[in-house]
Symmetry: C2
Subunit: 343 residues, 2 copies
C-alpha cells in the first residue's frame, strides 16, 4: 500500500500487472488467460460480471439463498435483463434440481448466476453439480466468491465456472476497494457476440481487457498501490498454499462453531453447508443485539456484524477471513462472549 506511485504504463507496473494475472490464475485455479483486477469493490465486480453479459431482454437465472443473490438479480434488472429468481430461504441452498427446472422452463436463458458464500446467511452454495447442469444446457455459469475465494475450495475450471469474481479484502487478505475477475473463452464468446456494448463504460471488460492485454490501451488510471497490495496478498496465498489456507479456514471455523455451541448458542442454517469464514449464529433470547456488539467492540476490540434482511436483530455474523482466521482470535472472541453473556 505504500509502494511508490508509478504511471499506469510504467514498465515496472506493467510487469506487476502480468505477475498479478499469473497469481490470480492460481487463486482461481484456472487456465483462463483473462484473470485481472478491477478498480472497484466486490460489488463493482458483481456488476461487471452481470453487465458485460446481459443485454436488454436477456433472461438470467439467479439462484438466491440470501441478500447477495437478491442483489445479483436486481443488478440483472438494472441492465434491462429479466431475472428468473430461484429462491430458497436464508440458511438453505439452491438444489441442483431447481436449476434444472428453471432451465427447462427457460430454455432461452443466457446465464445461471449464484453466490457461493452468502455473507448474509453464513451458507456456502454447492457448485459442482450445478456447474455440470449449466454446462450441459450450454449456458454460462457465473459464481460470486467475494466472501469465500481463498478460504473455500472453488476450482473455477473444474467446477465449470465461466465467470468468477472475488473481492480483495476477505479471505484473499488484501485491501478493500479492489476486486478480481476471471472469464473463460465461453464467456468471451458471449460477451464478444453482444449486439450493443454494455451500458456501464467503467466496467466494460472488453475495454479493460485491452489495458491488461498486450495492447495496453488506456481505460482508467490503475489504482497502483492497491494492485501491489493485492499482488502481495496473492503471493502470501501461494506461499501458504491454497489447500493449506482452505484447511486453516476450515479448522478455525469448526473451532468457532464448536465453541459457540458449547456456549449454548445455536448456529443458523443448513449444517451441511455452513461456511468456515463466516459464521451466522442466532442471538439467544433475552440478549440484546447492538449493546452486546458494542461491548465486544469497545471492551475487547472485536467487531462482529449484525444480521441482514430476515436475520436483522436475530443473528450475529462472525468473520474469520484471511489473516484473521486464527485460533487465537477464536479463543479471544469465545472468552469475550462468555464474559458478556454470562457475566
Amino acid at each position: 500500500m505504500i509502494s511508490p506511485i508509478l504511471g499506469y504504463l510504467d514498465p515496472v507496473f506493467l510487469e506487476a500487472m502480468d505477475d498479478t494475472m499469473a497469481r490470480l490464475r492460481y487463486l482461481f485455479q484456472t487456465e483462463n488467460e483473462f484473470a485481472i483486477t478491477l478498480p472497484a469493490s466486490g460489488m463493482g465486480a458483481m456488476e461487471a460480471a452481470v453487465c458485460n453479459v446481459v443485454e436488454p431482454g436477456d433472461k438470467i437465472i439467479v439462484g438466491i439463498h440470501g441478500f447477495f443473490g437478491q442483489r445479483m438479480a436486481h443488478i440483472v434488472e438494472r441492465h434491462g435483463g429479466t431475472a428468473i429468481r430461484v429462491e430458497v430461504d436464508f440458511g438453505q441452498v439452491v438444489k441442483p434440481q431447481q436449476i434444472t427446472e428453471a432451465l427447462g422452463a427457460n430454455p432461452d436463458a443466457k446465464m445461471v448466476g449464484v453466490v457461493h458464500g452468502e455473507t448474509s446467511a453464513g451458507i456456502g452454495q454447492p457448485l459442482e453439480e450445478i456447474g455440470k447442469i449449466v454446462r450441459d444446457a450450454n449456458k454460462l455459469f457465473l459464481v460470486d466468491t467475494v466472501c469465500s475465494m481463498a478460504g473455500a475450495h472453488i476450482p473455477v475450471d473444474d467446477y465449470l465456472i465461466d465467470i468468477c469474481y472475488t473481492g480483495g479484502q476477505k479471505c484473499v487478505g488484501g485491501p478493500a476497494g479492489i476486486s478480481a475477475i476471471t472469464v473463460n473463452d465461453r464467456g468471451w464468446d458471449v460477451i464478444n457476440a453482444r449486439q450493443k456494448e454494455t451500458d456501464t463504460w467503467y466496467l466494460d471488460l472488453t475495454l479493460i481487457k485491452k489495458y491488461w492485454g498486450t495492447e495496453r490501451v488506456y481505460h482508467h488510471t490503475a489504482p497502483g498501490p492497491m494492485v501491489f497490495a493485492l499482488k502481495e496478498a496473492l503471493t502470501l496465498i501461494q506461499e501458504e498454499g491454497l489447500e493449506n489456507r482452505v484447511a486453516r479456514h476450515k479448522k478455525v471455523g469448526d473451532m468457532l462453531h464448536q465453541g459457540l455451541t458449547d456456549l449454548g448458542l445455536e448456529l443458523f442454517g443448513d449444517p451441511a453447508n455452513r461456511l468456515s469464514m463466516l459464521t451466522c449464529v442466532l442471538i439467544p433470547d433475552g440478549v440484546e443485539d447492538a449493546p452486546t456488539r458494542k461491548r465486544l467492540l469497545t471492551e475487547y476490540g472485536i467487531e462482529i456484524a449484525g444480521g441482514f434482511g430476515p436475520l436483522a436483530g436475530k443473528a450475529w455474523r462472525i468473520g474469520l477471513m484471511g489473516y484473521s482466521a486464527a485460533e487465537r482470535n477464536v479463543r479471544y472472541l469465545l472468552g469475550a462472549l462468555e464474559k458478556i453473556l454470562n457475566g
Copy 2:
C-alpha cells in the same frame, strides 16, 4: 494507506467519513451537503456524474476540447442519452457563445458537461461564463476536474457548477483508485425526479448517499485505507491552504513553461488557457518520442507521458501535480531534457 482495517460501519470509520465530507466541501469550495468519495477511479466518477442524470432519450450538451470530453460524450451515449457535441480542436477552449448556441438549438437539453483540465491537451476550460449561461437556461452544469482540482481555482458554488468530481491522485495528492463528487440541490432535484433508476447500480448515487448520510445503509464495502489516505491528502491541502496550493502549481507551471521555451521547445495550444499542472509541449523535429521518454525514465527516473489522439507521437505531456509540483522537479527535468536533447 496502512491504517488498520475497520468495518464499514465501525464508529471510527463513520467519523472519518464525516470528516472527509467536511474536507471535501473545502476542496470543492461548496456548501453542498453531499460531497463524498466514490470507490472507483476518476473515470468511475465521470460515469457516476453522467449515469445518475442521463435517462434514455435525454439530450446532454458536451463541450469537447480533448480526449476526455469525447469520452464524456461517449458515456452519455452508453446510458441511452443523446450527446450534443460542441467540439473545438485540441489546444483550444469551448467559447461561451458556442454553448449559448447549442442551448438555443436544443432547448430540451438536460445538462451541459465540460472537462476543466484536459489532460490530453494541457488546456483548462474557462468555466465562469459558461456557468452563468447554463444557469440562466435552467440546465445542470457538470464539470470534470479530475486533472485540476486543488491545482487550479475552481470554486464550485461561485462558478454555478451543479455536479463536480475529481480524482484522488492528481493535484489532490492522494491515491489513485478513489475519487470524489459533489452534487447540489439542483442536481439532486433532477436525479430524484428520474423516471427509472440508473442502469449502473454500483455508481447509483441515491444508494451511495444512504451510506454516507445518517441512514448508513450498506451499499459496498468502503475502501477504508483509501478513504483514510484521501482524508490525509485533504488535510494537507487545508494545512497548505487552497489558495497557496493553487499559487504553487501556477508558479512551478510558469517555471516549466519558461524553461521549455528557453530550451527552444514550443508549447502546445492556446497560451491564454494553458494548465499549470499539465504541460503539453511539442516534440522538436528530429527528436524521437518513445526513446527520449525511455531515457528520461531509465537514466533520470522521470516519467513524462506521450501525446493522446491527434497529438500521439507529436507532443509530450508533463505533469506537476500535488506533491510533485515542486521547483526542484522542474529544474531536474529541464536539466535532464537539455542533456538528452543537446548532448
